[in-house]
Symmetry: D3
Subunit: 211 residues, 6 copies
């Protein structure tokens, strides 16, 4: 098996195809060096340490963005100890007026806990009904799996949310960029949103990645 | 138990809270008269007939709408024989140029089969990458669970698709109306989509239900 | 790692041991060259194209067989885009009088849509009750997971069915050949079906593979 | 709510539509008197006793039948303590030469333990390959979910098997009676098994219930 | 249906027998008045409000106990909006030196986030290996489903943890009281733990409920 | 790929990360030589034989231990034919007075069948209520997933139990050794069980592995 072969393998494989069902062992920490080659393997348990089960990367917020919102999503690829255990989480920080744009998680329900601040928070059900209100520090809201939701800091100070998911990789689809920052045929979007070509072009300009 | 009590029950309960997991019996046909009262019950099997397992309501398209698209979604509420069996389906008809606007199904993967026509068909993954192409009659495309997808008839004749789902009630969230035809706080949408108040008002006018 | 080793691996491994539960990522296209070696890996997403999600092999029927029935089952091994997504499908074509013999799918419910023709279609529940009727073009029947079912073209023209399953590999067990074309001890079949040795031999002659 | 109403309910509902997934509570014993009315309810835990979790009905074999085989299947309807716990079991007794005819369980894998005797035991996979051998007392064989299997006492004394399933109601489809003791259209069976009308009639005579 | 009948029903049914699998609808809020009677029903969605999805009861700690530890577990029975969504949570508060005794959750993985303080936190795997360390504010530890875990405030100030589970009712078994505060036969405990009758009696005295 | 590489792989990977959900193929026998390298692969089916599905290692009890109890747990690692099929089993033998100490299985329900003897058998629910009684030969008890249970031979002769699980690897946590034979911080145990340092040391002495 030549070095060429190994390179091909490393290039051509990426994600784990396991699934969020009941685990088959106490835990399964993927081997960091080898998981791209053998993604569904677990480290020999004698090499597992307590640090595999502890995550220290959300003590502080991520750098703020121009929209006044930043987030640190922690799925099983960032925190391998979550592998096969069916959970993951996210820290989200809001400057005053900062907005977490309408988005949804295709593979998980979210329980969102307000660590700091006043957050207008809501979701839209599949009949387009909105359930939203202002949450205070210490309040918890649940966003059912796959439903669109959004948040905005309506207080005068920074706000922080801890979100937890019942999937090790719930995914996240942000509507504005998925719609207007992607390569969907213009005619579909014009007809779908009732936009003129000019109006669509203006919207796309904001979201399309600049090269 | 007074008549008043029964009325309260009929008003206040609606949906079945079962789940798309392995069935616990051969089949479970809800009793049409009683399922609002006792939603997770099955008809006595001696009252079940072959017609409980056959659906005849998608032989013809639904009435066309002004957008040149119509669909007949058939979940377990429309076809009770699907109850507990983990599947449902939809017939979609397109006039030339007709568009099935960007939408997703929160609880199911879709396998779409082109019965007639030429359909531009695609989906957006959670990194905003679009996978789309024109499908001919007899071709099949799969839309992974929870991902945004869309279709447009790019041929000169009507087109028809049969979609099947691995959930008895996959749900459907249509992005344009969920975003601009629902009661989401204006500020969230303005900031989220980078729209002025005037631009948002124009979009909402198209999608908000008129009273 | 010698060439010998690699050959042993290629010979001795075959199927994917993943399962029809919730996916853990948007999609997972197995790498065609490497999936026999590393079956639970996904291609790097930058190598995934729209053609991975489109199947064009059921536009026409398979060659007819002497029983007047032919089918093209499409599971995740034939259409890798289905991998981890929990669905698959089959095209079945019937000459007049053609029969799809009693069979069942051990791992999935089937939704069968009549594309053309008049099909007598039915299933047997686990109390030996038969639910059957003639379906017309455009009608849909559901066969609950694991139950025996069968179909016969009772019209004057060819008939076609599109079946969809809620498993990426539902399997199919055809009763006549599983019973009489397999190597089950004769005494079991004689006692089980109440057949004489001669009667059994006659039945087996039809189904046992000729060498 | 009149007595008439209650009667209708008792007649028209029968089975529980729950599913073999993870339980949501420690246990859920259906109330014997009320479970036909309210099938997915659990008894108040203060009325639950240890006897709800113990089954004493398989200490002795069932009465022997003329085929030299008898069985006592124990699903959650016979042993309510199994409800929501995803398991059930069966005791099977064989006289010398007794046969458990080819059958399968649509909703469960079986682990079969030989309590007494010498049992020829096997299954057929979906490629019609047979895996069979004689088992001795104390040996265990696994029959994968949904695959056809069969057993015959090849010793000189009675034999007994304890089978366990990973479903609270795995179901059982016995091939001879499902095929020839049910109401499947004759033409389907004649073509499917290559039988003449006379041969089929002879087979059916053995299996059709006599009235 | 007499008043007597209704009373029997209310007394004899208690818990929901649904399961932590994929939801079958956007959400399912049990009706507070009727859920003891009809536990698997959902409120009519027109009676659902945003407050059904928000929980405000963990803004402050519960009253401290003599062991310096208090917790507020919030499952779907306390927060009905969680029903069918597969998640729940707990707030735990520790005085300096306070201990959350060794326990486990039979039906869920826990992700524990340190809101305040310094917490010695760990779990024992099924080979009796301990993974433990001191966590600081903002750190996260995962306890795999069903494994024994424990926590102790090792700082000088109060400490608080927010735990989240991937089950709407994960359950909690506290080892000291389950072992020594329950009605297990003395001989089992004496032999199991190697205790004399006197030593066992002393332990039991601490945990048995006083009447 | 050098020999060094292969060694690293063999050392660093151990367990399979599949899950107890529906199988994706008839069966999947891991390749004995290669499963440490490629854990989620299945043997090519042409190399599978009936012996892969038969287990002969529990015909006799294991050697007795000093506590009068011995067990042979058979999960998918001991009996590879169980892989992906969601079941496993255990043989347990008791001398008179022998005790199976309080333990639980984090990933499975157990159905326990008394093969010989008189067994006091019980479990503790999550409210610390004990359900226990003496079982005779031929009786069956179910231990719900994740709940603490225990057994003691209260007869005059040896006793034997066959336990079956609905997981291919249910795990087992024995409370006395997990608590007092593991490396949990002394202070946690002292406070948790209300033990003095001396009392704890005495208990630990019995359970800590001697070096």
């Amino acid at each position: 098996m030549s070095a060429w072969f190994v390179n091909v393998v490393l290039l051509s494989m990426h994600l784990v195809s396991a699934s969020d069902s009941d685990p088959l062992q106490d835990y399964c920490i993927p081997s960091p060096e080898l998981s791209s080659l053998f993604p569904s393997s677990c480290k020999n348990s004698s090499f597992v340490t307590v640090d595999d089960f502890v995550y220290s990367g959300i003590k502080s917020p991520a750098d703020p963005t121009k929209t006044g919102f930043s987030s640190i999503p922690v799925s099983s690829s960032a925190f391998p100890g979550l592998n096969t255990l069916g959970m993951s989480f996210v820290r989200a920080d809001f400057e005053p007026g900062g907005v977490n744009v309408p988005h949804y998680h295709p593979r998980g329900t979210e329980v969102a806990f307000v660590l700091e601040g006043m957050i207008y928070s809501g979701f839209v059900d599949s009949r387009n009904r909105v359930f939203a209100k202002v949450l205070e520090k210490g309040e918890v809201m649940v966003f059912p799996r796959g439903l669109l939701h959004f948040q905005m800091n309506v207080g005068d100070t920074t706000a922080t949310i801890l979100g937890t998911f019942n999937s090790q990789n719930p995914g996240s689809v942000k509507i504005p960029s998925a719609m207007f920052g992607s390569d969907i045929k213009e005619e579909v979007l014009e007809k779908g949103f009732g936009l003129s070509g000019k109006e669509l072009a203006k919207l796309r300009k904001k979201f399309l990645p600049t090269s």
